[in-house]
């Protein structure tokens, strides 16, 4: 195993991690940024870096290219040992990095809710389908239903459309009234409003339906018809209709990737990491920034990252002016949470034979009578497969009201030899 040490170790090279790295890089100490993907940028910028479309992205990338930050790509952090050391698996072997301060910026993932048919081929996560297209999947002339909740649906629909797909509908489960209030609130943040308006303009032609959600998906009705047609039932204010399409892109807003902060023992409240004014967590020398502290979008991530980077490198004075800006941005996060909170009807989409855990093929009927996640895991292996409950965890927490299961290393599957 390779061993190394650094003054400041940042986990996650998305906007928050990059901002933290850029801020900390000015301090003179050594800064290491570690990320599980082959390229920096996080979910949002990954495809862009290299082409540099976004000015914000290129600004932060500069800190990397100037060599002031040591970037370790394709490294999945899977374990933590008490002396502020993280262990990661890389294609070249395992590495262990000890550090003075740590900034966690592990981002968020899509939340999936099970409904009959959600595991059919052709039904993807919204971000997941976008990633496949980035990876080369052709969607030219494909008819796609985008469904679920949250601003990500708009961005994904836009992306799919610009890549040649016909987006039949965006089914947004949140209520029209909530969305209107949310959109009005955006005026207070002109920058966001410009983004939203631009997006909306480009979306002309895609029906955006609030109060609407997917209830079922069926495979192709006629066999041997290229097996590409899905029948999606969507429900809107009491009435249902069936739409035929090629793909479904479905995601219900985002949930923070809490595994690493939980492994370190950081205090979690209401589904996100509790942090203080300088992004410090309840664990000494550990800071958190970005979506881990609550889903609040890229601007909030950038500010939080910068504050964490400054604070962790002893530049708290410089962070002062940012705190107010950050609080406004996290206010946006609260508005997001409120607007896109899941409606109770979504708890009743599952049927007894609907799969809950795709890794271990566990159905809703098998888990619904257990009182705790742990009991269900032990008895049915729900959440015990290779994804380690990342997909089914947030779903059962919502459906059954269970507390999140405890976290143990390895937090990602890892080759036995690296344990």
């Amino acid at each position: 195993m390779n061993k190394t040490s650094t003054d400041i170790l940042i986990v996650g090279a998305g906007p928050a991690g990059l901002a933290a790295a850029a801020a900390a890089a000015n301090s003179g100490g050594t800064v290491t940024l570690i990320d599980e993907n082959p390229r920096a940028g996080g979910q949002i910028w990954r495809a862009e870096l290299g082409k540099i479309r976004s000015p914000a992205a290129s600004k932060f990338l500069r800190a990397l290219t100037q060599g002031r930050v040591d970037l370790i790509n394709s490294a999945t952090v899977f374990a933590f040992s008490g002396d502020n050391t993280l262990t990661a698996q890389t294609p070249g072997g395992s590495i262990s990095i000890s550090c003075g301060k740590m900034i966690l910026a592990a981002g968020a993932r899509e939340r999936f809710l099970p409904f009959p048919g959600w595991t059919l081929p052709g039904v993807f996560g919204a971000g997941g389908l976008q990633a496949l297209v980035k990876g080369g999947l052709s969607i030219e002339n494909k008819r796609i239903v985008v469904a679920g909740s949250g601003p990500l649906l708009l961005a994904v629909a836009d992306y799919l459309k610009t890549h040649g797909a016909t987006v039949l509908v965006i089914a947004e489960q949140a209520s029209a009234a909530k969305i209107r209030r949310f959109a009005r609130g955006l005026w207070r943040q002109p920058e966001k409003m410009v983004q939203a308006a631009a997006l909306r303009a480009r979306l002309i032609g895609i029906p955006y339906k609030p109060d609407t959600w997917i209830t079922r998906c069926r495979g192709p009705r006629v066999s041997k018809r290229l097996a590409r047609e899905l029948e999606v039932t969507i429900k809107s204010r009491g009435s249902s209709r069936v739409i035929e399409c090629d793909y479904v892109a479905c995601g219900f807003h985002l949930v923070p990737n809490l595994e690493l902060p939980m492994l370190l023992g950081c205090q979690i409240r209401d589904g996100s990491v509790s942090v203080g004014d300088h992004q410090q967590t309840s664990v000494r020398d550990v800071y958190c920034a970005g979506e881990l502290t609550g889903i609040a979008g890229i601007e909030s991530s950038l500010i939080e990252g910068e504050i964490a980077g400054l604070a962790a490198s002893g530049q708290t004075e410089k962070a002062k002016t940012l705190i107010k800006k950050r609080d406004a941005a996290t206010g946006f996060g609260r508005a997001l949470d409120h607007t896109f909170a899941l409606r109770p009807e979504l708890k009743h989409l599952v049927e007894d034979d609907t799969l809950i855990c795709r890794c271990e093929d566990v159905s809703y009927a098998q888990v619904k009578d257990f009182a705790t996640f742990r009991e269900a895991k032990l008895q049915t292996r729900c959440g015990m497969g290779p994804c380690q409950g990342r997909v089914c965890g947030p779903a059962v927490e919502y459906l059954l009201g269970w507390e999140p299961a405890s976290v143990r290393p390895p937090i990602f599957p890892v080759k036995m030899k690296y344990l």
């Binding site: 742990r374 032990l378 015990m384 290779p386 290393p409 890892v414 080759k415 036995m416 030899k417």
Partner: protein, 375 residues
Amino acid sequence: MASNKKTFDAAIVGAGIVGAACAVALAREGLKVLILDSSSAASGTTAAGMGHIVAMDDSPAQLALTHYSQKLWRRLAPELPASCEYENCGTIWVAANADEMSEVHRKKAVYDENGITAHVLDAQALLDAEPNLAKHLSGGLLVDSDAVVYQLAATRYLLLKAVKQGAEYRQFNSVASLSDDGVGLPSGERISAGTTINAAGAHAGDLSPSLEIRPRKGHLVITDRYPGFVRHQLVELGYLKSAHGSDASSVAFNVQPRKTGQILLGSSRQFNSNDDAVDNAILNRMAARGFEYMPALKEMSAVRVWTGFRPATPDNLPYIGKVTGFKNIYAAAGHEGLGITMSLGTAELLADEIMGRESPIPRQPYSPGRSAASS
């Protein structure tokens, strides 16, 4: 049962596999049974184990109880639901060198004497049986009758069976004390019972201090699915040395194929550790031991690692029977790493003792009073 004023005839503390098996056996006798657990079923040592049903010959008494229990498992198997994943995969005791091959022959003789079918494998036969073992090994002993069960589902099955027979099960219900009249709850409330059975596993000593039970920590790793990679339960012959020894820590090669295609890798033993965190030093030793016997494990994806505590006794035998100094308190605890195997036999011996009848094997070696008697 003598008492007719008690709420229950038998109160069982602990809904691990041993408590669950006892509940079935006592309910079958017509007793009114209550099972209490401080958490949910099978969430202690039972959850942490491997689910190996093995005839183990560390001592004659150990072999008697494991062999007897194994027969009971075989009898139960047809009624177990598929979720219990009972599989008669057999065990191969792997010999790493010529010395260990002589141990193979000794062991074979012991099994023969006890009517347990075992076959000596030479180096080639070993590789034929398990092609993914290292090439430098000397051979092994294949024991046909050994099996594997998903012990968590089996425990649940047994509990539900007891409930069907009239037992009452209360989970998340801690017990603070035991007496000849029943159990005391943390609230001060008492539940009266004619007989109380301490099946609290690694915690049994907290309720019955005369039981000498020390937690012995172990680690396990489970992999992603690799169907067919391992066919039998594989244990190195040095395992008993590790299990029997009282060293502070030891590791031994032990892998188990699960019906899912996943592979469980063990084993480690540590005294003097009450911390359930993964101990990287011992985990690395355990993995390294595994790689010596099965090099391809190195590249396999480990999905989870966990720890657990075996309830260990000074002579490696469980406590089954009346607890010294009490009229109505019985023990069914201290099974170390053999609780899954021994659960069914333990329940029968306990039921026999409570009902005042003979057992198919002598009960004395497991009597909680044995250490006092022998010293």
